[in-house]
């Protein structure tokens, strides 16, 4: 089997998408998109807001039955999804949300462990609406990690997390990947996060994969690494952000008023 991540390969991929087209009403969101993800590969997906990232994930999860479109999708049977909204069932307590659909005697224990891993030990019996935004997101993460998917689809799973918690969740996700080696498609808006975590980063634009970047930075990946900075600049460029210095803030007259 080819060891080279990404690129054209003849080995059977875990995910294969060919000529995927999806439109809402008259707006074509995905336009004849092709994509392959190998088993065990970690792919990060960047793209502007509204570019169709969630649409692509929903198609992979088989959830877009009502959407007009054509194309071919090959996915493994065991898919786990972290939705962009955390999507906890409001009438189930946190713990029951995590083990939803799990069977077997170990499920309850697994659920508790998983909740502890995302830093929510002791909150098992809370209702979802008693959690903060980031806590809800972590419950959703716990729910997807407690399963052992062949394909993990995660739609901005860390969006509502602070820096420290985010780092912890990265580690958690990584350890899951190391244990079960699922194919991962992670949507994120944080370019650094994409570079740190992924084997390959894609940029979705105009309904297609507009840019593709293998992450060939040595681990541990350090954002101070010049190759890191180079890749980041390249990806930001693909996302339309030109020049690293952020746009200046207008100087404000503080003494007025």
């Amino acid at each position: 089997m080819a060891t080279h991540p990404g690129g054209l390969t003849t080995v059977a991929p875990a995910v294969r998408i060919a000529e995927l087209t999806r439109s809402y009403d008259d707006r074509t969101i995905l336009d004849s998109l092709d994509l392959e993800i190998r088993a065990g590969e970690f792919v990060a997906l960047l793209g502007q807001s509204g570019s169709g990232k969630s649409t692509l994930l929903r198609a992979l999860a088989g959830l877009d039955g009502e959407v007009a479109g054509t194309g071919l999708i090959d996915v493994p049977g065991a898919v786990s999804v972290v939705f962009q909204d955390s999507r906890l069932l409001p009438w189930l307590r946190v713990h029951d949300n995590v083990i939803l659909g799990l069977t077997g005697p170990g499920a309850a224990e697994q659920g508790r462990e998983s909740l502890a891993e995302v830093g929510l030990a002791g909150r098992e019996r809370a209702w979802p609406n008693q959690l903060s935004g980031g806590e809800q997101q972590r419950v959703a993460l716990a729910r997807s990690l407690v399963r052992e998917p062949e394909l993990l689809l995660a739609d901005e799973p860390f969006g509502a997390l602070d820096a420290l918690t985010r780092i912890r969740m990265h580690a958690l996700l990584r350890s899951l990947c190391d244990r079960h080696r699922p194919a991962v498609l992670l949507v994120t808006h944080d370019v650094d996060e994409a570079i740190v975590l992924a084997d390959r980063v894609l940029v979705l634009d105009g309904g297609r994969i507009a840019a593709e970047q293998l992450i060939d930075v040595d681990t541990p990946r350090n954002s101070a690494d010049p190759r890191f900075a180079e890749i980041r600049a390249h990806l930001l460029g693909a996302l339309g952000v030109t020049g690293e210095p952020r746009e200046p803030r207008e100087p404000r007259e503080r003494s007025r008023d």
Partner: protein, 281 residues
């Protein structure tokens, strides 16, 4: 294990669509069936026809469909059906109109103020629990035996489901939306128009489905009192004279009215709640 999904698969694609993930997993009810809503009633009609034809259903208790058709024809020819229907429709329409306004208004008052609820809710529950027939003497006392009493009785019957459902729907509005309304400093008027009414709309529409049939059911009660026309009167008369066929015509009419008005409210529901994405979609 790899499953293939071919949603309207391109003929040029090489990999075969082995199985549809969507149909395999689908927990929802699936795609609507063409003319689905007509299947049940047609089935009922078939059973009825078959039962009558084979004599399993006694013609003397449940007239055969063809008898109902000829009887209906005769009733229409003699003008009785139309005249009675017209009277009844007017009574129900009036009662429905007043009842909907009354029920919605009370639900708003009761749902948006604790005092309103304290004063209104209990009496409505009591009213609801008391059989209409048992209330008739009081209504006759206060409102006489004329049209006013009839329309009022229907109004009183109709307002209950409207009230309960709207109130329930309204009370079930997510508090997050109320918070939002507070932060954008909605006036109470705008709050009702923009948040409360749309939020309670699903409840209200379910209430409407009950209100419409309740209106027709109350007709049977009120048209026993001092009426000389109306569907309820026609059926009561037929009962007295043991005219099974006319009774069944009335029942079929009721069934049809029930189906139609229910269908109409559901149609409105589908339009008015088009923003919803639910299990039913």
């Amino acid at each position: 294990m790899v499953a293939t999904v071919g949603t309207r698969t391109d003929s040029t694609s090489s990999a075969p669509a082995r199985s549809s993930l969507r149909t395999r997993r689908r927990l929802g009810p699936g795609r609507p069936i063409r003319f689905g809503p007509t299947i049940g009633p047609l089935l009922l009609l078939t059973v009825w026809t078959a039962g009558s034809a084979t004599g399993l259903l006694d013609e003397r208790v449940l007239s055969a469909p063809w008898t109902v058709v000829t009887t209906t024809g005769e009733l229409i020819e003699s003008g009785r059906l139309q005249a009675n229907l017209l009277t009844s429709v007017q009574r129900v329409a009036l009662g429905l109109g007043f009842g909907v306004v009354l029920g919605t208004a009370l639900a708003l008052v009761s749902g948006l103020s604790r005092w309103g609820e304290a004063v209104i809710d209990g009496p409505v529950q009591i009213k609801r629990a008391i059989p209409a027939l048992a209330l008739m003497p009081l209504l006759i006392l206060w409102l006489g035996i004329g049209e006013v009493m009839k329309v009022s009785t229907i109004t009183l019957g109709v307002f209950v489901p409207i009230y309960i459902h709207t109130h329930n729907g309204l009370r079930g509005i997510d508090s997050r939306y109320v918070e939002l309304a507070e932060t954008v400093r909605l006036s109470r008027r705008a709050f009702i128009r923009r948040v409360v009414l749309p939020g309670a709309l699903p409840g209200f529409l379910l209430g409407m489905r009950f209100a419409v049939t309740t209106g027709w059911l109350f007709l049977v009660v009120v048209e026993q009192i001092n009426s000389t026309s109306g569907i309820g009167y026609m059926m009561e008369l037929a009962r007295t004279y043991g005219q099974t066929d006319i009774i069944i015509v009335g029942l079929v009419l009721y069934g049809l009215l029930g189906l139609l008005s229910d269908g109409a409210v559901r149609l409105i529901e589908r339009r008015a709640l088009s923003w919803r994405r639910t299990l039913a979609d």
